[in-house]
C-alpha cells in the first residue's frame, strides 16, 4: 500500500486515458473513505437541512430531504433572539464569555500538561510514575462525583464564582489525558535527540522549548483539538463554577435545546448547535495544516 503513491508499472486497463495515476488499490482506499464519509456526514446533512427549514415543513416531512423553501431565520433566531429565561438575545450573549473561558483554559492546561509529559519521560524522579498512575486514575472519575469537593476546594482558594476558578477546574480535568498524550508522544521520539541536547549543555527548559516543542506539532494539534472541544462544549462546570454574567455559550445552548417548549423548535435547536460547534469546527479545519507541518518536522528528525 505504501508504495502506491509512486506507481511505476501502470499498464493494461488504463488504455487511452492520458496520465491516469490511480491504481485499483487507491480506488479501494477512496471508496472505503467515501463510504465512511457517508456515515459521518449523514447527521450533519440532517442538521443543516433541518436548520434551513421552517417548522411546518419539518413537521410534515422527511428529515433527509432538502428544504423546499430555504429560510435562515432559525439561524438568526438562535444567534440573536432565542430566549433563555428573561434574556432574549440568543447565543450571542455567551459567545465572548466562552472565548474568555476557553483561551486561558486551553493555554494553561496544555502548557502544564506538556511540561508534565516531558518531565515524566525525560526527567523521571522518585515517585513520578506513581503520580502519573494517580493522574490516569483521575481520568476515570465521573465528573459528577467531584462537584462538591471541588466547590469546597475553590471556596478555600477564594476562587468560587470567578472565571479563574473555572480555568483551574478545566486544567485539573484536562490534565490526565493531555499529560498522557504528551508523555506517550515524547516517549516515542528518539532518545538520541534528548541526549544530544544534554551533551550540548541545554537545561530542562532549553531542551523542552528548543528541541521537543518544535517537533511536536501533531500532538499539540491533537491536544488543542481535545481541549478546545472539551472546554467549549462543557456545560456542567461552566454553569456550576461561574455566575450568570460569565456563563459560557453552552448554558444558552442548553437552555434553547432543553427547554420544554410548546413546540420544540428543531430548526432553531439545530442552528444553535451548529453555531456553537463552529468554533471547534474551524479549529479542526485550520489544524489540518499543522498536521502536515508535523510530518515535515518528523521527517527531519531521522
Amino acid at each position: 500500500m505504501i508504495d502506491a503513491p509512486f506507481p511505476r508499472t501502470l499498464s493494461g486497463p488504463a488504455g487511452s486515458r492520458p496520465r491516469t495515476r490511480i491504481a485499483p488499490k487507491r480506488l479501494m482506499i477512496y471508496a472505503a473513505l467515501l463510504i465512511v464519509s457517508v456515515y459521518y456526514l449523514l447527521p450533519l446533512w440532517v442538521m443543516v437541512m433541518t436548520s434551513l427549514k421552517g417548522m411546518p415543513e419539518i413537521r410534515m416531512g422527511n428529515i433527509f430531504a432538502p428544504p423546499v423553501e430555504i429560510t435562515f431565520e432559525p439561524w438568526v433566531k438562535a444567534w440573536s433572539s432565542a430566549c433563555t429565561g428573561l434574556n432574549c438575545d440568543g447565543l450571542s450573549r455567551g459567545f465572548w464569555n466562552s472565548v474568555m473561558i476557553v483561551v486561558p483554559s486551553v493555554v494553561i492546561s496544555i502548557a502544564v500538561a506538556s511540561v508534565n509529559g516531558y518531565a515524566l519521560v525525560n526527567w523521571k524522579f522518585r515517585g513520578s510514575e506513581v503520580f502519573f498512575t494517580i493522574l490516569l486514575f483521575g481520568a476515570f472519575i465521573p465528573y459528577q462525583v467531584m462537584i462538591y469537593p471541588l466547590v469546597i476546594i475553590l471556596r478555600e482558594l477564594g476562587l468560587m464564582g470567578s472565571v479563574w476558578g473555572l480555568v483551574l477546574v478545566h486544567t485539573i480535568f484536562g490534565m490526565p489525558i493531555i499529560t498522557l498524550l504528551f508523555r506517550n508522544y515524547f516517549a516515542s521520539l528518539p532518545e538520541e535527540l534528548f541526549k544530544a541536547a544534554r551533551v550540548d549543555g541545554a537545561g530542562f527548559w532549553g531542551i523542552f522549548l528548543r528541541v521537543l516543542v518544535p517537533m511536536s506539532l501533531p500532538i499539540f494539534t491533537v491536544a488543542v483539538i481535545l481541549q478546545i472541544t472539551g472546554i467549549w462544549n462543557d456545560f456542567l462546570f461552566g454553569v456550576i463554577y461561574t455566575k450568570p454574567d460569565t456563563y459560557p455559550m453552552t448554558v444558552q445552548l442548553n437552555n434553547i435545546v432543553n427547554s420544554v417548549q410548546g413546540v420544540k423548535e428543531y430548526n432553531v435547536n439545530m442552528a444553535a448547535t451548529l453555531l456553537t460547534g463552529l468554533v471547534p469546527l474551524s479549529i479542526y479545519l485550520i489544524s489540518g495544516k499543522l498536521f502536515v507541518r508535523g510530518i515535515a518536522a518528523g521527517a527531519v528528525k531521522g
Binding site: I29, V46, N116, F125, T133, P142, S188, G203, Y284, F291
Partner: protein, 297 residues
C-alpha cells in the same frame, strides 16, 4: 533514560520537580483527596448535603439490591467492550487509510473528526431522529419498497445498546483516528523504507512493526476511550434517557440521578466508589506492568 542512573542528580532534577508540582498537587489533593472524600461519604446517609452520619454498609446493601444498578453494570460491560474494540479497530484502519498520502486528506480527516466538535446533547437528538422508525432510516428503506423492513433500536430493549453504539462511535472514532494518525506520523520513514527493501507487504509491516512501535499511542487511545465509556452519561440522557424502561441505564447516570435527582448523595457516592474500585483494579496492575516493562532499557 534521564539522570535516574546517575546518583547525585537531585539538584539537577529540581526544575523538573518544580515543573511537575501542579501534577503532584492535582494527583494528591484533587484525585486522591476527592476519591477518599467520596469513599468516606459513601458510608454515610448524606442526602442533599454531604454529612458525616455514618450508617455502615447500608448504601452498599441498597446498591446491590437495586435492579437498575445491576442492569447499568451489565450495559456498561457490553457497550464498553464493543465500543472499545470497534473504535480502536475502526480508528486505526481509518488512520492508516488517511496516511496513504491520499488527496483531500484534510477533507476526509475533518469529516471523520467533526462530530467530536458537537456536544452529546445534539448527537443524541440527531440520532434519535435518524433512528426514529416513523421518519428515519426505517421509513426511507420502506419507501424504497422493502415494506417489512424493521429497524427500531430505540424502542427495542434488546437493541438499544446498538443505537448507543452507532451514535457513540460516530462521535468518538474521529478523535482516535486523529491521535493514531499523529502516531503514524511519528513513525520514522526509514522503517518503511527498510520494510520495502526487504519486500515485506504493507499489512505485515503494520502488524509486526508499526503497531508495536505505536504502543504508547494506543495506550493513550485506550485510556481516552475507556474513560469516556466509564463516564458514559450525556449521550444516554440525550439519546434514550435510559430507556426503553431501564434497558440503557449506565452507572454514571445512576450516580448522577442518585445524587441530584433522588438527593441521596450517600447512594451516589457508594455507586461511584464501586466505579472507582473497578477502575483501580484495572489500572494498578496495568501501571505495574507498564512501568516494570519500561525498565528494560
Amino acid at each position: 533514560m534521564s539522570g535516574r542512573d546517575r546518583p547525585a542528580q537531585l539538584l539537577r532534577n529540581l526544575p523538573a520537580k518544580l515543573a511537575a508540582l501542579p501534577m503532584i498537587l492535582t494527583a494528591l489533593v484533587v484525585f486522591i483527596g476527592c476519591s477518599l472524600w467520596t469513599v468516606v461519604h459513601s458510608f454515610t446517609k448524606s442526602r442533599l448535603l454531604p454529612k458525616l452520619d455514618f450508617v455502615g454498609l447500608d448504601q452498599y446493601d441498597r446498591l446491590w439490591s437495586t435492579p437498575r444498578w445491576l442492569v447499568s453494570i451489565e450495559n456498561l460491560a457490553i457497550y464498553g467492550i464493543c465500543a472499545l474494540i470497534l473504535s480502536l479497530v475502526l480508528g486505526f484502519v481509518l488512520a492508516a487509510l488517511l496516511d496513504q498520502k491520499i488527496r483531500f486528506e484534510d477533507g476526509f480527516r475533518t469529516i471523520i473528526l467533526y462530530p467530536y466538535a458537537l456536544s452529546f446533547i445534539v448527537t443524541g437528538l440527531v440520532w434519535q431522529w435518524i433512528l426514529n422508525p416513523d421518519f428515519g432510516i426505517q421509513n426511507i428503506v420502506r419507501g424504497l419498497g422493502f415494506e417489512s423492513f424493521v429497524f427500531d433500536p430505540l424502542h427495542n430493549p434488546d437493541q438499544v445498546l446498538f443505537a448507543l453504539l452507532i451514535a457513540g462511535l460516530w462521535q468518538g472514532t474521529g478523535l482516535v483516528t486523529v491521535i493514531l494518525l499523529a502516531g503514524l506520523r511519528g513513525i520514522d520513514e526509514d522503517i518503511w523504507k527498510a520494510a520495502r527493501v526487504d519486500g515485506i507487504p504493507a499489512w505485515k509491516t503494520y502488524l509486526r512493526v508499526v503497531i508495536p512501535m505505536m504502543r504508547p499511542v494506543f495506550a493513550t487511545c485506550l485510556v481516552l476511550v475507556s474513560a469516556g465509556i466509564v463516564k458514559l452519561y450525556d449521550l444516554v440522557v440525550a439519546l434514550t434517557n435510559g430507556g426503553p424502561g431501564i434497558a440503557s441505564e449506565t452507572p454514571a447516570k445512576y450516580v448522577y440521578d442518585s445524587m441530584f435527582n433522588k438527593q441521596n448523595l450517600g447512594q451516589g457516592f457508594a455507586a461511584s466508589t464501586m466505579m472507582l474500585l473497578t477502575v483501580l483494579i484495572i489500572i494498578v496492575p496495568w501501571a505495574m506492568f507498564e512501568f516494570r516493562g519500561k525498565r528494560r532499557d
